[in-house]
């Protein structure tokens, strides 16, 4: 987890899960619905900024026809190659540490 914080890791994974429509709002909904935590808008935007600074995430603005957005563009989030690499590393660390802990954690 050296390069990614827990929440950063979750955000990165959530972006990857959105496939067709990787936008901040969808990422937030996914996290709230499936990670069981409340995500404030500010925290999400700051994490996105941080991931961009670290080079794990990039984004581009694209015009949106969705009327609810009131003419504002959308921000399409993209996980970079480095971001994928960092996610893989984190997964490896997690798997290593979980190995053999099944009985302790009550896994059936």
């Amino acid at each position: 987890m050296s390069r990614l914080g827990e929440f950063e890791f979750l955000v990165l994974l959530a972006v990857l899960r959105q496939k067709e429509a990787p936008y901040a709002n969808h990422v937030r909904e996914d996290l709230e619905a499936n990670a069981g935590r409340r995500v404030t808008r500010g925290a999400l935007y700051r994490t996105i900024d941080r991931l961009v600074e670290k080079g794990f995430l990039a984004w581009e603005l694209e015009p949106s026809e969705v009327p609810e957005r009131g003419g504002h563009p959308m921000r399409r989030l993209l996980v970079t190659e480095e971001g994928l690499e960092a996610a893989r590393e984190t997964r490896t660390v997690l798997v290593t540490f979980l190995d053999g802990l099944g009985p302790v954690l009550g896994e059936t």
């Binding site: 936008y23 901040a24 709002n25 404030t40 808008r41 500010g42 935007y45 700051r46 984004w59 603005l61 949106s64 969705v66 609810e68 957005r69 009131g70 504002h72 563009p73 959308m74 921000r75």
Partner: protein, 881 residues
């Protein structure tokens, strides 16, 4: 349905410069619509506000934390400091000018702090908070000295019967009327000494510089005759000779041993009797023998550690009740505690508060002015910053450099301010005419310098960092940069500058209104009818060289002296009194002869002992009856002259009073033979109480006399002539103690003059800064609008048209500032009410006068830019790129 406009604007502003901002706004919009559909309009709007505020505040906090982190990153701090210094050196004029303006504000605050410190913050005594003043009664509104003093018997009983105090002491409150002649080498000199209880210095916590304080034995009747010299007397008269301790001196013919010298840090007169120099302390006998005199002692107590004034007060109240029960005849039993600090500072609290507020307002004017100067400079700085940013300088570094520059300017400000404050405090301490306690202790000490530096840095950081942030961010600077090119975006920048001018005018206006009110009040005090005519008079303190053997001898001496002086060339008339107006204070009780028990009043009279020449010489008219005559002597019917207030209050009228009799102490009944006009004896602001004049030929109880001489000759000539006569009459009498009554009047209004002086300086400085602000803004506006003006001129606009256009707006702005300033000065009215005399805090003359002055100054300051506007050449403007 759109989200709340203000909230989304706020959000856009918080995220200004962030390329993701439009998407973030869109995200929020999208969710807003969802909330609107599920929970309704009101809930959606609330939801949006909450989200927007959360986002915006998080963003600002994050930005600040980031800026602070990069600012504090050590790295190349030294390099940045050098760069900042170099930048300042590149435009030394700007740095010095802004530094000087900051210095002005710093000096105002520092000087006022230094002046307030000894009186309002820290009395120069050890654990000064334990010191309390014990008045004789709840003397609310009673300004006579007898109301704040106590009887010696009270001191004895309070010492014995209380446990709240580690010590209670006192001094002879009426010392100012007792004079001593120090005999020895050189001219005889008239000196002032104060009788103090033997433990006076110990209770105050003052240690003598040399020698010791008085012993209990020296405070006994018949004890060793001792004296403690003031630091000044020791320095001037004894050339700071340490060996003076233990030596003998002769005071009024009595040999005394010098047992100590007071330290320079404790000047009795500066604390307790500003305006009356005190040269030495004598032991005051506190014993049952003299215990039953009137209220002669000023009592000061030191509370034991941990005892509150309230606890001590209730103990004294209980004690007094018990004492009163034991001896129902006992009078003057009262004790009202207040801290020594409150007692000394109380009468000046209003003025001091006002000065502090005024210094604060001036500092605000300075801040606004410096902001204006900084902002005016930002366009050029913004270009430089943009270039450096493009070359890769991180934002933190740029900000750090700008803040360092501001700090550099602040340091210049601190230096200028300290220098000005030092000069100002010198002026204050050397102004001998200021009768405010502890003015001698005013000094620019370390704490004052720290205040100066703190204020300078704070000012610099407050006014310098905000433009710095904007420049570094490229936010507002963008607008200003655009302004400098004269584009349409200039309106915002102009509004900002005009807003600053508006604020400056408003603040300056408030200061000037207060200054104007003080001036009007000062003039009202000077215009008070004192009841006597101070012009063309010189007065002497008469201190006969040898004590008189008998009352008859004393009488004869003064009569002879009066006659000799009256006969001197150029002298129109002379008078003798035991204490000229505006200098002395005492009170006697009295009874009206012929009134039944119980019909008496509790009122007190202010007694004066005079010769027949006094009332005519002072030009105090008689309203009824007659003046004293040479026939009113010992053995004939005792007579008095009552003042108008006395006649009305005691007898209901002037004619009714004539022929009635009054009794004071002693067996005599005094017949009222004349009614004199009221004289303001205590201060110009205090109305006369009941005053009684006794002929010195009939009333033996008087100390040294004051001689007043009326003459049309120049005072130097009068002094030479009269001094010669005095020397002739009594070679042992000091003759250099003279003054004009006009100077006495000036001394009585000195605290007003002091407050007025400082406030005028502040007001003037604020006016100057406001003028500068107006000039600066208008110059910049004219420069920006040159193309427009050129086109207008080309299209046939006349010079006056242009002037009207340029000036009109500025005068409108000034008028608005004046109105705001008027409103602001109304906030001062409560404080002012306590300070002003004869003028209402809403006096229209001060308000209108200030308005006129400000408008005139605004017109003057606008003159030059307006002329430049008129001389704009249409062709040159249109040709320029």
């Amino acid at each position: 349905m759109r989200p709340p406009r203000l909230a989304s604007r706020l959000l856009a502003r918080a995220f200004r410069g962030d390329p993701a901002a439009p998407a973030i706004l869109g995200d929020l919009n999208e969710d807003f619509v969802r909330v609107l559909e599920t929970r309704g309009r009101m809930a959606a709007r609330l939801w949006y506000w909450r989200e927007a505020l959360g986002l915006a505040s998080g963003r600002v906090a994050h930005g600040l934390a980031h800026a602070l982190r990069s600012f504090l990153r050590p790295g190349s701090l030294g390099e940045d400091a050098v760069h900042a210094a170099r930048t300042l050196r590149r435009s030394p004029g700007f740095a010095l000018f802004v530094g000087a303006v900051i210095g002005l504000g710093v000096a105002a605050v520092t000087t006022v702090y230094s002046v307030l410190k000894p009186l309002a913050l820290a009395l120069p005594f050890e654990d000064a908070h334990q010191l309390v003043w014990i008045s004789n009664s709840e003397a609310a509104g009673d300004s006579s000295l007898s109301a704040v003093t106590s009887r010696t018997v009270n001191l004895i009983d309070f010492r014995a019967g209380t446990r709240s105090f580690s010590g209670i002491t006192g001094y002879d409150a009426f010392f100012a009327s007792r004079f001593y002649t120090l005999a020895g080498a050189g001219e005889p000199e008239s000196l002032v000494g104060v009788g103090v209880a033997h433990d006076f210095l110990d209770v105050l916590g003052v240690r003598p510089l040399h020698g010791r304080s008085f012993t209990a034995e020296e405070g006994q009747r018949g004890g060793p005759a001792a004296v403690i010299l003031s630091h000044r007397l020791w320095r001037d008269r004894f050339a700071s000779d340490r060996t003076v301790v233990g030596r003998g001196v002769t005071l009024n013919g009595t040999p005394r041993t010098v047992v100590g010298v007071l330290p320079a840090s404790f000047d009795f007169s500066s604390v307790f009797s500003p305006g009356v120099e005190v040269d030495f302390l004598l032991p005051f006998v506190v014993s049952r023998d003299n215990a039953f005199q009137g209220n002669v002692l000023a009592l000061i107590g030191r509370l034991r550690p941990g005892v509150t004034p309230e606890a001590a007060q209730s103990e004294l109240t209980t004690l007094n009740a018990a004492l009163g029960e034991t001896d129902p005849e006992r009078w003057g039993l009262g004790a009202e505690l207040e801290t020594l600090q409150d007692h000394l500072a109380g009468p000046f609290r209003g003025s001091l508060l006002l000065l502090a507020a005024a210094a604060g307002v001036l500092l605000l004017v300075v801040c606004v002015n410096v902001s204006g100067l900084m902002i005016a400079r930002s366009p050029s700085r913004a270009r430089e910053m943009a270039v450096r940013k493009a070359l890769g300088a991180p934002r933190g570094r740029l900000m750090r450099q700008l803040v360092l520059e501001t700090l550099g300017i602040s340091l210049i400000g601190a230096a200028v301010g300290s220098l000005l404050a030092w000069l100002a405090t010198r002026v204050v301490t050397n102004a001998a005419m200021i009768h405010i306690p502890l003015m001698d202790s005013v000094e620019l000490d370390t704490s004052a310098l720290l205040v100066a530096a703190g204020v300078a840095v704070l000012t610099g950081v407050v006014v310098g960092t905000i433009p710095a942030l904007q420049v570094a961010e490229g936010g507002e600077a963008g607008v200003l940069q655009a302004a400098s090119r004269g584009s349409s975006a200039s309106r915002g920048a102009r509004r900002l500058r005009e807003g600053l001018v508006f604020a400056e005018v408003a603040l300056a206006c408030a200061l000037l209104v207060v200054g104007g009110l003080l001036l009007a009040s000062f003039r009202a005090v000077l215009d008070v009818d004192l009841g006597f005519e101070p012009a063309n008079t010189v007065a002497w303190q008469l201190q006969p060289g040898t004590p008189f053997e008998s009352y008859g001898e004393k009488m004869a001496f003064y009569t002879r002296l009066g006659g000799r002086v009256r006969a001197a060339p150029g002298v129109e008339s002379t008078g003798l009194i035991d204490g000229l107006p505006l200098g002395r204070n005492r009170a006697w009780g009295f009874q009206v002869v012929g009134l039944a028990e119980g019909e008496d009043t509790d009122e007190q009279v202010f007694p004066h002992v005079v010769d027949p020449g006094y009332l005519p010489t002072m030009e105090i008219p008689l309203l009824a009856g007659r003046n004293f005559s040479p026939a009113d002597v010992e053995g004939s019917t005792p007579v008095v002259i009552l003042n108008q207030t006395g006649a009305r209050r005691i007898f209901g009228g002037e004619e009714e009073a004539l022929g009635r009799r009054l009794a004071f102490w002693g067996p005599w009944e005094w017949e009222v033979v004349g009614i004199a006009r009221d004289v303001r004896h205590l201060s110009p602001e205090t109305g006369s109480g009941i005053e009684v004049y006794f002929p010195h030929a009939q009333m033996p109880d008087y100390g040294p006399m004051d001689l007043v001489v009326r003459s049309r000759l120049p005072s130097s000539q009068v002094v030479a002539t009269v001094s010669g006569v005095l020397e002739d009459v009594d070679p042992g009498m000091p003759r250099h103690e003279f003054w004009s009554l006009e100077s006495t009047v000036a001394g009585a209004v000195s605290d007003r003059r002091f407050a007025l002086g400082i406030l005028s300086a502040f007001g003037f400085a604020a006016l100057l800064l406001a003028a500068l602000g107006i000039y600066g803004v208008l110059s910049q506006t004219v420069a920006e609008r040159e193309p427009e003006i050129g086109i207008r001129m080309a299209l046939g606009a006349s010079g006056p048209d242009i002037v009207r256009r340029v000036l009109g707006r500025m005068l409108l702005l000034t008028a608005g500032g004046i109105a705001a300033g008027w409103a602001l000065s109304l906030l001062f009215s409560d404080v002012l009410d306590a300070v002003l005399f004869g003028v209402a805090p809403v006096d229209p003359r001060a308000f209108l006068g200030t308005g006129v002055v400000l408008l005139a100054v605004a017109a003057l300051a606008s003159g030059l830019p307006a002329r430049r506007a008129v001389s704009t050449e249409a062709s040159s403007v249109l040709k320029s790129p």
